[in-house]
C-alpha cells in the first residue's frame, strides 16, 4: 500500500520536473505578477512595504491556480486514471499522493520564491519569517482545495478556467488568514498568532475534505 502511494508521488514529481510547465511556470508567473505590481502602484516604498504580504499572497494564489488543470486531466485523457482507479490503493489515497506531488512541485517552489520576490516589494526583513511560515501552512490547502475543482472539471476540455472559478471562493479564507498571519498589521497583539492558527485549521479541514471530495468527483466523471 505504502509502496503504491510512494510510486504515485514519485511519478508525478518526476513528470512535473521533466515535462515542465508545472511548478517552473507557476514560479515564473509569480515573478512576473509581482514585478508588474510596483509598476502599477508607483514607487512609493512605504506603501509597497505595507501591502507587500497581501500582494504576495494574491499573486501566489493566482500562480497556483494556473497549474490546477494538469493535476488530473492528463491522466484522464490518456487512460491512466482508469488504471489508477483499479489499484489496491483506495482512490482517496491515490488522489492524496497526487496532491502531495502537486504541492511539492508547485506550492513549495512558490513559498521558496516568495521572500525573494518580497525584496522587489520592499518587504521588511522582519516579515520574511512570518510570511514564509504562513505560506508553508497555507499552501497545502491550495493544492487540497484545488484538487476538488480539478477533479470536477476533469472531463471538460480546457477546464482549467472553470476549475479556477470554482476554486477561488474556497481560497478566500486562506487569503484572509494568510495575509493576517504574515502580519503587516501589528497593532493588535496576538492577532498574527491567532490568524496562523486559523490558517492551520483551514488547511486541516481541506485535508479532510479535499481527497474525499476529489475522489468522489473523479469517480462520478469516469463512470458517467
Amino acid at each position: 500500500m505504502m509502496r503504491a502511494f510512494i510510486s504515485v508521488v514519485k511519478r508525478d514529481v518526476a513528470l512535473a520536473v521533466q515535462v515542465g510547465g508545472g511548478g517552473g511556470m507557476a514560479v515564473f508567473f509569480f515573478l512576473v505578477a509581482v514585478s508588474l505590481l510596483p509598476l502599477g502602484i508607483g514607487p512609493n516604498l512605504n506603501l509597497l512595504a505595507k501591502i507587500a504580504p497581501g500582494l504576495l499572497w494574491v499573486a501566489l494564489l493566482l500562480s497556483s491556480l494556473l497549474t490546477l488543470d494538469r493535476l488530473f486531466q492528463a491522466d484522464f485523457e490518456d487512460g491512466t486514471l482508469d488504471a489508477l482507479l483499479m489499484g489496491h490503493l483506495p482512490l482517496e489515497l491515490t488522489v492524496s499522493a497526487k496532491i502531495i506531488a502537486h504541492w511539492l512541485t508547485t506550492g513549495l517552489p512558490l513559498v521558496i520564491a516568495a521572500p525573494f520576490l518580497g525584496l522587489l516589494l520592499n518587504l521588511g526583513s522582519a516579515h520574511f519569517l512570518p510570511l514564509v511560515g504562513a505560506m508553508l501552512v497555507g499552501t497545502p490547502a491550495l493544492s487540497l482545495l484545488g484538487a476538488i475543482g480539478a477533479a470536477l472539471t476533469v472531463s471538460v476540455r480546457r477546464g482549467g478556467l472553470l476549475a479556477s472559478l470554482l476554486v477561488i471562493p474556497f481560497y478566500i479564507p486562506v487569503l484572509i488568514f494568510g495575509v493576517a498571519a504574515a502580519g503587516s498589521d501589528v497593532s493588535i497583539p496576538g492577532a498574527q498568532h491567532q490568524a496562523l492558527m486559523l490558517l492551520g485549521a483551514v488547511t486541516l479541514v481541506s485535508l479532510v475534505l479535499g481527497p474525499v471530495a476529489a475522489a468522489a468527483a473523479l469517480r462520478a466523471n469516469l463512470r458517467s
Binding site: 503504491a4 490518456d78 482508469d82 489496491h88
Partner: protein, 220 residues
C-alpha cells in the same frame, strides 16, 4: 502487497454476470446480458460498432456503473472488488511521453504490486528489453501497445479485460500476446476480450452483443 490469484485460490474462480444492464448518457446501451466464465476460460465479445463491447468491459472493470443486474467474481480474493483483481486494457494507452519504458514499467510495478522479476518477464514476453531506456515519445504505435499490454504481466491479476488488444500489433507481436493469454488461461486465469478480428485461441467461448440500442428511451 502480494495476493494469491487464480489457481491458488481456495475455490476455482468463476465470473458470473446476470441480466446486466448498461446505461450511459441516459440511454440503454444493452440489457439482459448474462454469461458465466470458469477459471481457464476466455470469453470473446463480438458485436457491431456501438453494441456495447467497450461498455461491457468497462462495467466489468468497475469503471461504468451497473444499472441493473448482478456481477460477481466467485472464489476470488475476499473483500476485494472485481476491479482490484482485474487488468483493463482499453483503447487509451495510459502512457506518458516523457517517461522511459523502464520508468513506466517500474511505476506500474510499484502501483499494482509487481516485483522486479515480473517486470523482466513482461519485458521478455512482449520483447521490450531493447527499448527499456527509450522515452515513450519515440516508440511506434505497436511498441506503445506492447508496453501497455506488458501491464498484464507486471502485476499478476486473475481477470484480464482486453478491449481490441490486437490493434497496431504486427503478426509476431500478436503471437506473443496470444501466447501470454494462453499461459494465463492455463494457470487458471480468466479473460474477457472484445475484438473484431479472431485472436485464434483454442478454447474460447463467445458472446455476441446484439445491438439493442434501437432507441430504448429511459423511463423517467
Amino acid at each position: 502487497m502480494t495476493r494469491s490469484e487464480g489457481a491458488s485460490a481456495s475455490h476455482p474462480l468463476r465470473l458470473v454476470a446476470q441480466n446486466l444492464v448498461c446505461q450511459r448518457g441516459g440511454r440503454i446501451v444493452f440489457r439482459d446480458v448474462s454469461f458465466s466464465l470458469d477459471a481457464g476460460e476466455a470469453l470473446v465479445v463480438t458485436g457491431p460498432n456501438g453494441a456495447g463491447k467497450s461498455s461491457l468491459l468497462r462495467q466489468l472493470a468497475g469503471l461504468v456503473d451497473v444499472a441493473a443486474g448482478q456481477l460477481r467474481l466467485e472464489g476470488g480474493v475476499p473483500d476485494a472488488d472485481i476491479a482490484e483483481q482485474a487488468h483493463y486494457i482499453g483503447h487509451l494507452d495510459a502512457l506518458k511521453a516523457a517517461m522511459s519504458v523502464r520508468e513506466t514499467a517500474d511505476f506500474w510495478a510499484g502501483f499494482l504490486g509487481g516485483t522486479e522479476a515480473d517486470v523482466e518477464r513482461a519485458f521478455e514476453v512482449f520483447d521490450l528489453g531493447a527499448l527499456r531506456d527509450l522515452p515513450v515519445a519515440y516508440l511506434s504505435a505497436g511498441q506503445r501497445r506492447r508496453l501497455t499490454l506488458s501491464r498484464l504481466l507486471i502485476a499478476p491479476r486473475a481477470l484480464w479485460l482486453l478491449d481490441e488488444p490486437s490493434v497496431a500489433l504486427d503478426a509476431a507481436s500478436l503471437a506473443r500476446l496470444v501466447g501470454a493469454m494462453e499461459i494465463h488461461l492455463e494457470s487458471g486465469g480468466l479473460i474477457v476480450a472484445a475484438t473484431h478480428q479472431p485472436l485464434g485461441f483454442a478454447q474460447s467461448r463467445s458472446l455476441d452483443l446484439v445491438s439493442v440500442r434501437t432507441v430504448v428511451e429511459v423511463q423517467a
